[in-house]
């Protein structure tokens, strides 16, 4: 009896081994997405206003960006840009299939781009005239204007490759019950605001070379939960309800250090805190006063006291991973109280008995706007103290984050404390372009020379190198006009349970994308 039972067990386990060879294990993992990712309404890149991490698991992009923002192949194995920038030729990896079995060919790409042009996100391909299929795996983007930013757009999850036939068939419902991509995971179920359940794409054989594992992912079932409250997400991790948090607020880093089974993986930051200065409002119409306000901000002190040394000081408008952020060191903006005081003296603002400067009987009182979220309130109070130290009298005005944008449109702000998340130099165009005064151009900056440099940077570059050079010039000029003061660059952290997950040695990518997840496995 015992013998037969053992025989059966043995037979059973051999069967199981045959069904699940080692490379295709039955691993399951549950991750919580960051609170900023909560509430994505569907998995349709054509209509998405915001995307979440699951997009990069369900879909692949033609091009992939590494953590250092360099471009790498994914669905496209290689590409060539014409010397005049008027066309790009891409080569697809052969044999790629969508989750429903449809092959991905050049014809699919042509149809996808046609569809994209009619979508709400069409501005991503404004510079593309048309796409031509050269053969089954070769296609050519013919450009209206050279656009070295094409690779950036193609690597974004907004330009994840969809199956046009399915999108057409499903119409408005696409991305809710069904989302068909070529990605390492297939969408099993999606509950709005709650969770997205993904299962492994067993046919996956076209991972980006950035991933070590070129076959199907190790994890067979991946649940991505949406938890809006950070402390709840942390308790889920602590109690084992989830195996990892895709985004851990810095406040919890010290708490993680005390837990033996928890670990943190650092991801490159994509956010910058800055202080826009309204150049159209007295006293900031005077560039000396603007420069003084900018130099009064003590980035290192803020890094240490407000953000416990997590992250890094910012000294220009762009995240430091971008080559366009490498402007001439003399143009970088960093703390210099002596110079700030000297500039204000020069501008005619003399210190009164109470330490507040005055000119023609008027005090240097300025409005400092911020939003009600706690990190902004904390930061703004420090900024206020630092401005006060050189003789400003900043009055903090707090607005709810949902109404502050409308307030900016009035143009009544003088100084403000804000932040943005973006990993491309064109953010300078967004925040300082003369046709977006009020919001997003909170600085109300509209300068003829800047506009000239802006046009050149946005549309006048044929190659990537030219674009970098043009944006360096644009960034340098804008920084020299002091329409803002840079403050701080946070880092991103991912927390996970060491007893459950094995992370890759190096994270290749700006986030825990599908490519990174290729190399994550579960301890069994």
């Amino acid at each position: 009896m015992f013998h037969t039972l053992r025989m059966r067990l043995l037979a059973g386990s051999t069967c199981a081994l045959a069904l699940f060879p080692l490379s295709l294990s039955a691993q399951e993992a549950v991750l919580a997405m960051g609170s900023a990712e909560v509430g994505v309404p569907n998995y349709n890149p054509l209509t998405a206003v915001n995307t979440n991490t699951a997009f990069s698991m369900i879909y692949d992009t033609l091009v992939e960006q590494d953590a250092d923002l360099t471009y790498h192949p994914h669905l496209a194995t290689s590409w060539e840009e014409a010397p005049d920038g008027k066309s790009w030729t891409f080569h697809l990896k052969p044999g790629i299939k969508f989750h429903n079995g449809d092959p991905l060919t050049s014809a699919t790409i042509v149809e996808w781009i046609d569809m994209y042009r009619k979508s709400e996100n069409s501005y991503m391909i404004d510079n593309v005239e048309k796409v031509e299929a050269v053969d089954d795996t070769t296609f050519k983007f013919v450009m209206k204007n050279p656009d070295p930013n094409l690779l950036y757009n193609l690597s974004s999850s907004f330009m994840a490759v969809i199956d046009p036939a399915v999108v057409k068939k499903d119409g408005e419902n696409y991305g809710i019950t069904e989302a068909i991509g070529t990605g390492p995971f297939k969408l099993e179920s999606f509950t709005l605001g709650q969770e997205t359940v993904l299962v492994r794409n067993d046919d996956y054989a076209w991972a980006s070379p950035l991933a070590e594992n070129q076959g199907p992912p190790h994890i067979a079932k991946l649940t991505l939960r949406e938890i809006p409250e950070d402390s709840t997400a942390f308790l889920e991790l602590k109690s084992g309800g989830v195996d990892g948090l895709l985004s851990l607020p810095t406040d919890y880093l010290s708490e993680i250090a005390t837990q033996a089974n928890l670990a943190v993986e650092k991801l490159p930051g994509d956010e910058v805190y800055y202080m826009p200065i309204n150049v159209t409002k007295e006293p900031f119409t005077d560039i000396k006063v603007r420069e003084a306000a900018a130099l009064a901000i003590n980035q290192d002190e803020i890094l240490k006291n407000v953000f416990s040394n997590y992250g890094m000081a910012a000294n220009n408008m762009l995240i430091s991973a971008l080559p366009e952020s490498k402007i001439d060191p003399s143009l970088l903006i960093s703390y210099n109280a002596d110079k700030a005081n000297a500039l204000l003296d020069e501008a005619g603002w003399k210190k009164g008995a109470d330490g507040i400067r005055e000119k023609d009987g008027k005090k240097l009182t300025v409005a400092l706007w911020t939003q009600s979220d706690s990190v902004f309130r904390r930061l703004t109070e420090v900024v206020q103290a630092e401005l006060k130290a050189v003789g400003f009298d900043p009055q903090i005005q707090t607005f709810d984050s949902s109404v502050i944008r409308d307030q900016y449109k009035t143009g009544n702000q003088q100084l403000a404390v804000r932040s943005y998340n973006w990993t491309n130099a064109d953010i300078i165009d967004w925040f300082f372009g003369g046709d977006r005064l009020g919001y997003p151009n909170v600085s109300m900056f509209n300068d003829p020379k800047a506009e000239e440099l802006r046009t050149k940077a946005m549309t006048g570059s044929a190659t990537q190198a030219e674009r970098i050079a043009n944006f360096l010039a644009y960034n340098s000029y804008v920084s020299g006009q002091f329409p803002y003061a840079p403050i701080y660059q946070p880092e991103k952290n991912m927390a996970y349970n060491k007893d459950r997950l094995v992370m890759p040695a190096v994270i290749h990518g700006g986030s825990m994308s599908g490519t990174v997840m290729q190399d994550v496995s579960v301890k069994e």
């Binding site: 569907n42 996100n121 501005y123 949406e226 997400a233 109404v403 307030q407 967004w430």
Partner: protein, 308 residues
């Protein structure tokens, strides 16, 4: 009774119209713009105007209200500006969760609150009463956000009995229901106690005692029945609150629901969703009040007779 019901229902129509107008106007008058949430880095001012036109946001407010009211009366709640999904679909996802959570919380508050209230009244000024009233004070003053996190720490992290968050199984409902229920229990217990003590001093109760009825029978059959009238009113009024007021609890426990849908839409100025959520809550309050009145009439023969 039937004509009373019809009159009450007809009265709901002008109230509904007034509520809808107030909801619409207040929403559109507060600063903020849903289109801001639809613009991403790189889109042009022309694209902004296009989006505004698509949702009719460029038309006069009165025209927008007329269109919206017309659609609502035809049963069309519109499309969410930010998520682009039909509002009825979003409400359809949120409402059952809110009803489940709110229903159980209401049940817990009524049973627990009435029981504690009766005990407190029965043991008036003795230690059980003091204990219960102390608990009531705590229950009604502690923020539910904090109670929720505390319950998670104890029952999920330490004991591992219930999931920390989510809305997957019935076990995930226990802690949120208790969190909301605690406030309700406190309220109902307080009202019950006061009503019981008040009723116990009435002449008819004295008469019953004089007639020699057993005190327990007087308490449960006569005093409690009488004291239930204000309690039922409070509970009925709480229906609307329980449906929409669970925002923080939904947030802490990462549960879907009308409250969190409303707050999220409010932050994004997603007018159609906010309007629909507020309308749902207004209807819940109106129906709750109506239900309260009907129950009161059913329980109190004097009210029943006066409206017959």
């Amino acid at each position: 009774m039937l004509s009373y019901l019809i009159r009450r229902l007809l009265l709901l129509v002008p109230v509904f119209l007034a509520v809808s107008a107030v909801i619409f106007l207040i929403l559109h008058l507060i600063p903020g713009d849903p289109v801001d949430n639809l613009l991403r880095v790189g889109s042009s001012p022309a694209q902004r105007a296009e989006i505004e036109a698509r949702y009719g946001l460029d038309r006069p407010l009165v025209v927008q209200y007329g269109i919206w009211l017309g659609d609502v009366l035809r049963g069309d709640l519109g499309t969410s500006i930010v998520t682009r999904r039909p509002v009825s679909q979003l409400i359809g996802l949120a409402l059952p969760e809110s009803l489940k959570l709110g229903g159980f919380a209401l049940l817990l508050s009524s049973v627990g609150g009435i029981l504690l209230g009766v005990i407190a009244a029965r043991m008036r000024d003795r230690w059980p009463d003091r204990l219960i009233m102390g608990g009531v004070l705590l229950g009604s003053t502690l923020p539910s956000f904090w109670i929720g996190l505390l319950l998670i720490l104890l029952f999920s992290v330490q004991l591992g009995w219930f999931p920390v968050s989510g809305a997957r199984g019935w076990d995930s409902l226990v802690l949120p229901v208790i969190t909301i229920g605690i406030g309700g229990i406190a309220l109902v217990a307080r009202v019950t106690r006061v009503a019981m003590i008040d009723t116990a001093g009435r002449d008819f109760v004295l008469l019953l005692h004089a007639k020699g009825l057993p005190p327990e029978r007087i308490l449960w059959r006569h005093v409690l029945r009488h004291a239930m009238i204000p309690v039922v009113t409070i509970l009925a009024l709480r229906i609307g609150w329980v449906l929409g007021g669970a925002v923080t609890v939904e947030y802490v426990f990462a549960r879907p629901g009308l409250g969190s849908t409303l707050i999220k839409a409010l932050n994004q100025h997603d007018y159609p969703v906010v309007q629909a959520c507020l309308l749902m809550l207004a209807i819940a309050v109106l129906l709750g009040t109506l239900l309260g009145d009907i129950l009161q009439a059913a329980m109190d023969p004097r009210i029943r007779e006066s409206i017959a």
